[in-house]
Amino acid sequence: MNDEILTRMGDGERISMSASEIKEELLVGTKEAATKGKVPELSSEDLDQIFEIISEKGRTVSVPPGEEIIVTDDGCAKIFSAGPADGGAVLPISRQNAVQAYERSFAADTLNFGHEDYSFKPVKAIIDCETQTYFTTSHVTTAPLFYGAQPNLGLYYRPDGAHDNPADLLPMGKIKEAKASQEAAAEQLKEDMVFVGRKLAEVGCEGLNFDTAASAGDADFYATLKAVEELKEKFPLMSIEVGMAAEFVLGMHGEITYEGKRLAGMYPHDQADAVASAGGDIFGPAVNVNTSKSFPWNIARAVTLVKHTSEVSEIPVHPNVGMGVCGVPMALETPIDCVTRATKALVLIGKADGL
């Protein structure tokens, strides 16, 4: 059939759909997002524009000249030198070499590197090595250089950390104990993030990226916001980006509030507000991908949530457009056709300030 358009499922499998099927998927996707996130649906013009992007003939697509945005990333050094489990190519070059290659050979707008074990807790133990590398790398690069790490509250629970694991306590009905444990762990996490941030700021850190925030729920997000607050007060010149783990803050604690607002259950537009209030400079929303739904469904959903966030956010919005988030299929080798289509839709219709 001539009107069949090639696209993919949320797990990356290539499929073909008719124009009417794609339009239907887009409509259902935006409705789903609007209902869940309590945000406006995309207009029919918006949906038509996404349809045009999906049905473009070329393998890759791009925004028109003048519409380009800023690309930030979660550890560009990793794409060269990290292992495949982290999407890396295991090239035998150092992190500094990778950052320089990214700046000069790939013309990135911003740069980023982090520790192999990309969380704040493991960074604490080797902070001198990280500050030294940051210091020298920042002297030989021109584009803004971020240092990135994940809050990753999970590391503070047993068996890795010192606090009782809420995932053990909750099924036993020990709600009060689970809450207390999360509060204590969040405090320790905040201290570690402030310690790492302070050390980096003192050697001239230009940007700190709190990546995959709230992966362990509302207590994780709370610790992040408190750390941002403290760091921004002490080091106003260090820009802070907060990228989220998911579209929805899990209420593992359930009663934690920040500036009077309950964190559990927050969708991207409210998350952006909380990050901006804490002093964050750039917000990175993440919208989950449903692998059993089509790419059109997933991208319509992602654009719906991102568009509203961009409209209400007072700080720049850089959606996380990685594997399994914001429309990009959940596949280790992410298909470039979907990646570029997701990018274009999020920028042109989602009005993102960056990615």
Partner: protein, 348 residues
């Protein structure tokens, strides 16, 4: 009376007469004999040591034919720590082709088994590629570092908090649980790296947290050796004396607390260790002749017995090398020569 330039244990330069050097050598040796209950050096050996310290040359070396094998702790991280911008594989190539290394060691910057666990899948492809392009035996190294298993970093109550309160039973119970997790992590990492093709695993700075850590490392070695009979395991110690933080741990009927190098080596060999790394501490307010004589006396006690190869840890603050961030090469090469020629090492 002519004077000879030497150093203190903290690296400061001093001048000593021949009789002062001889006296310090004898006193250092006595200290080892007294603490480790080991045999003293012979007069010929003392004279040999004296000659090493009297040498006017800045750098000294072993006699031709007496060269030994060099193994390295924390191999690749040495480059990263001093911020030389090369990858791990490049570091190994530099060791192999620039430094003429006899063996190589790949390591994670956070040099303990516990932090390696979450990134072991990143280490495997690096090891695999390094193995394709290097020639000498390649170890994977990390420290048992039991300290990471107690609060605030780890899950169990910190014996450092419990012991001062007299909560001995609770502290021991905590150690017992820490051992369980540490053994699991060491076996996990060791297995993954051996499966990826490593020639051996280096358990470095073993027993830093005392007898419980030593016990955990021995257990892990035992398991790895039974899983992989051909695996080479090197075990380097944290110090000359196993601290009795637990106090009641036994391996093969031998109490681990208070063991000195010779006994440490015997126990390690029983567990399946292939190369033993003896460590002797430095006393910073004693002289280099005192410290090296002491280290040599301890070392000889290990190498005299017919046992596994012995590689001394001869780094900053151990094996007679002064405790200073930039160890002077005159002191370092004297420690190297003395330990090999008189201590009869198989490597260092």
């Amino acid at each position: 009376m002519s004077k000879y330039t030497s150093r203190m244990g903290d690296g400061f330069s001093i001048e000593l007469t021949e009789s002062e050097i001889r006296k310090d050598i004898e006193d250092g040796m006595e200290s080892a004999v007294k603490h480790g209950k080991v045999e003293p050096l012979t007069d010929t050996e003392i004279d040999h040591l004296l000659e090493i310290f009297k040498s006017p040359d800045k750098v000294v070396g072993v006699e031709r034919g007496k060269e030994v094998i060099l193994t390295y702790d924390s191999g690749t991280t040495k480059f990263k720590r001093v911020n030389v911008s090369v990858s791990k594989i490049q570091s190994l190539q530099i060791y192999e082709r620039i430094l003429g290394a006899d063996t190589l060691e790949l390591a994670h910057i956070d040099y303990s088994f516990k932090p390696v666990k979450p990134i072991v899948v990143f280490e495997q492809p690096i090891l695999e590629q390094a193995l394709l392009m290097t020639i000498p035996p390649l170890f994977y190294g990390a420290m048992p570092n039991l300290g990471l298993y107690s609060q605030p970093d780890g899950p169990f109550p910190n014996p450092g908090d419990l012991l001062p309160k007299g909560e001995i039973k609770e502290a021991r119970a905590s150690y017992d649980r820490q051992i369980e997790l540490a053994v699991k992590d060491m076996v996990y990492v060791g297995s993954h790296m051996y499966e990826a093709g490593a020639d051996g695993i280096n358990f470095d700075t073993t027993a830093a947290a005392g007898d419980a850590e030593f016990y955990a490392a021995l257990k892990a070695v035992e398991i790895l050796k039974s899983k992989y009979p051909d695996i080479c395991i090197q075990m380097g110690m944290a110090s000359e004396f196993v601290l009795g933080m637990h106090g009641e741990l036994y391996y093969d009927g031998v109490r681990l607390a208070g063991l000195y190098p010779q006994k440490q080596m015997e126990i390690a060999a029983k567990a399946g260790v292939s190369i033993f790394g003896i460590t002797t501490n430095i006393v910073t307010n004693e002289t280099l002749p005192w410290n090296i004589a002491r280290a040599v006396t301890f070392t000889k006690s290990c190498t005299e017995s017919d046992s596994i190869p012995v590689h001394a840890c001869v780094g900053m603050g151990v094996g007679g090398v002064p405790l200073t961030l930039a160890p002077p090469v005159d002191a370092l090469t004297r420690a190297s020569k003395a330990l090999v020629e008189i201590g009869r090492l198989d490597g260092l």
